[in-house]
Symmetry: C2
Subunit: 474 residues, 2 copies
Amino acid sequence: MGDLPDRSAAFFEWYLAAVDAAELTDKRYPVKGMNVWTPYGFLARRQMDRILVEEIERSGARPVEFPALIPQTEFQKEKEHIKGFDAQVYWVTRGGATELDVPLVLRPTSETAMYPMFALWVRSHQDLPLTVYQIVNTFRYETKTTRPFLRVREIHFFEEHSCQTDAEAASARVDANLASFAAIARRLALPYLALRRPEWDKFPGAFYSVALDIPVGGARTLQIGSVHHYRENFSGPYGIRYEAADGSSRLVHQTTFGLSERLLGAVVAVHGDGRGVAFPSELAPYQVVIVPIPGRNGPDPVPWARTLADRLRARGLRVHMDGREERPGAKYYHWEARGVPLRLEVGGREATQATATAVDRHGNRSVAGPEGLEASVEEALRAFDRRLAERAQTAFREAFAPAASEADLVGSTRVRLFGWCGREACGHAVETAIDGALLGTLVGPPPGEGPAPVACLVCGATEEIRWAAAGRPL
Amino acid sequence: MGDLPDRSAAFFEWYLAAVDAAELTDKRYPVKGMNVWTPYGFLARRQMDRILVEEIERSGARPVEFPALIPQTEFQKEKEHIKGFDAQVYWVTRGGATELDVPLVLRPTSETAMYPMFALWVRSHQDLPLTVYQIVNTFRYETKTTRPFLRVREIHFFEEHSCQTDAEAASARVDANLASFAAIARRLALPYLALRRPEWDKFPGAFYSVALDIPVGGARTLQIGSVHHYRENFSGPYGIRYEAADGSSRLVHQTTFGLSERLLGAVVAVHGDGRGVAFPSELAPYQVVIVPIPGRNGPDPVPWARTLADRLRARGLRVHMDGREERPGAKYYHWEARGVPLRLEVGGREATQATATAVDRHGNRSVAGPEGLEASVEEALRAFDRRLAERAQTAFREAFAPAASEADLVGSTRVRLFGWCGREACGHAVETAIDGALLGTLVGPPPGEGPAPVACLVCGATEEIRWAAAGRPL
């Protein structure tokens, strides 16, 4: 055990080793930053997508899929947006031997694919809200260092787009998206901060952006999603208008909500340890692995192990029976690195008694059965999930510290919380001091206890002071 | 009703009108042949994918996902394959403002993306068979007329790839794929022919190809899938070798199995009628639509309609409650065009009696409840599926006719079945006569009755005569 690099000393080395040990992806594909989803990684992604689909459809969005290729002419209609993406899009310029008349962009995100169609779909206020989402891959010509799930060139992406009657309805959709994300994060046991980004760091084309950030050690943070209010910034250039109840023609107000495979990277980063990945049971490709332990005496445990697997599958659990010719210890190690929440050891005694010895990913042991065997296994999974969430919460709280002065920011090994007056000059002073970014103002209460800030950390102003956070985004 | 073009007189006009009336796709996207999956179309596709995943995973394949972009250097390793695809691939030549050193192909299919990795994954006979699949979009720069689901430039695609120890194991996988397809086709009520394509029409790079064809009126056929045996044609150039049990190093034998959104097009083509699309209940986005019919007297039917919807959903049925302010007749028309298998009409009488009047997509009426209400609805769905399958079988049998001479082929309005000696000259003579294609030799028995052929239709030879089919592929 424990041959992974030290997580706290060398986070990225540990992260890459944990992803490799779990065989979630294969980075040897001959285009750098485009990785292969292995069967095991794909099964985790399938569970992630299932959770997203459930929460998003519950909130009223309907699935669609738009083409991956966007004509240059559509792509360039919104000025800020194109400025934000121009340097990092892939261009399709040729079909067969033919130069295309209009080059096509491989979508880096789908505003410019969807909005020409929204202009056709939206006619009257009765068509609103229009709330659709898609789960597709997007493409970015990354020039920074790529890392599996965290920064890749082909991104497994979730995007919701809505058209609303006015700014207020759009703000309400932003809030609904934040509530959906809270439910998703709860199911993945991922504590996070929702932060309204400062003006200079919002999404290209947005009116305002709320980012979803998690701390990943030291002062480092990882943005795992975002929700944007676009007002009429896109509906203007794309002509998405509706006839209001009073007969007037108005532009829709738009919102978007984006998540990606970074969620999976966040699960690795937050729950992993020296043994490798640890999956919450909602996300685990296999929730239970059964390891039969043949002994010198006693009955063959394999038939009972098979029965056990069938009984648990009948309860809807994802169960893998590891029947390989390997030492049990090697199997334990194998499945711990792959993050399986619960292992059931089945030897001769367990076969005789119709029980199983349950060991969770953190090493907690219990015996399941013979009475209420399935219920005990389910309870062991729930107990594991509770402990996983508690650990994550503890680490989350410890990741933050208040800052009483700019000096506290310098060389900080925590994400810092403080009062901010909202002025850009003060924000940039914070960024210089921490050698990172002003992450924005908190949406919701701060993590941990403590009195609300009364003055700006930089200028000391006492008007309109809000909680802000600063750190070093990955 | 019946404002669609006449199906038998103008098949494509009818097909396009049926797809439009069902709102399965939006063809107005500004890249020709790249269409938008609307919410309703996407829900049908979701069911299609579910069926594919169930059958394919049952047959032992595991999910993966490979990148969409393939370096030119990998793409060009197998000579026949590149010849087959060179004229119809999209090329990515630029990232941001940078010309790429190695241009990238947007996958038209994934052999050349997967096989460099298979060469890393396969080491020993213990790694075999390697059987993986993915459901992704593929891209073809089509120059022919595009039609929704049938011929598009971005294709929703299923592809299984396997590596086997030898030719025999690969043939067995081909057979397993054909068995999986039989199960898929049964669930979609789609009768089909499996045909081993002649040498001159096999997949670029294949040793042999079995195509899955359906008749779609007249002598026209639609290929909805294919299974290929590659032998060592790809493993050679890509160096996919394994150490056999005897220590020798051998090339794997490979197979592939491909399906696409054409399956959905086939469902429209085969089951649709003058009222529009008709979905088998497995594929239907909504299996049951409930239409409340408010009357002048009697209780408000809406509360009962809602209860009914909840009760049916609790049985796992996909139910839509149509609560719009519209005439009931307009709603009937709306959902018939969209292919919903079963409509439940709920008026005051039904609300009082806790029943529902069930009308299936073909107009068959029954009353469900009050006793065994859910079971009656399920039985009405099963009865609809049976009749849908019977109709399709009848039309399938009528689509074929034997040919006793080349003259029978000329201007044929049926797909023709006949004996063929296997010689290319005779095959081409058939193609000239029917002004179409020799579809290949039958895998399995022919549709309908009749004695086995004893002589080649063209040359009269009596050795190695096999059933062959000829028609006009779309």
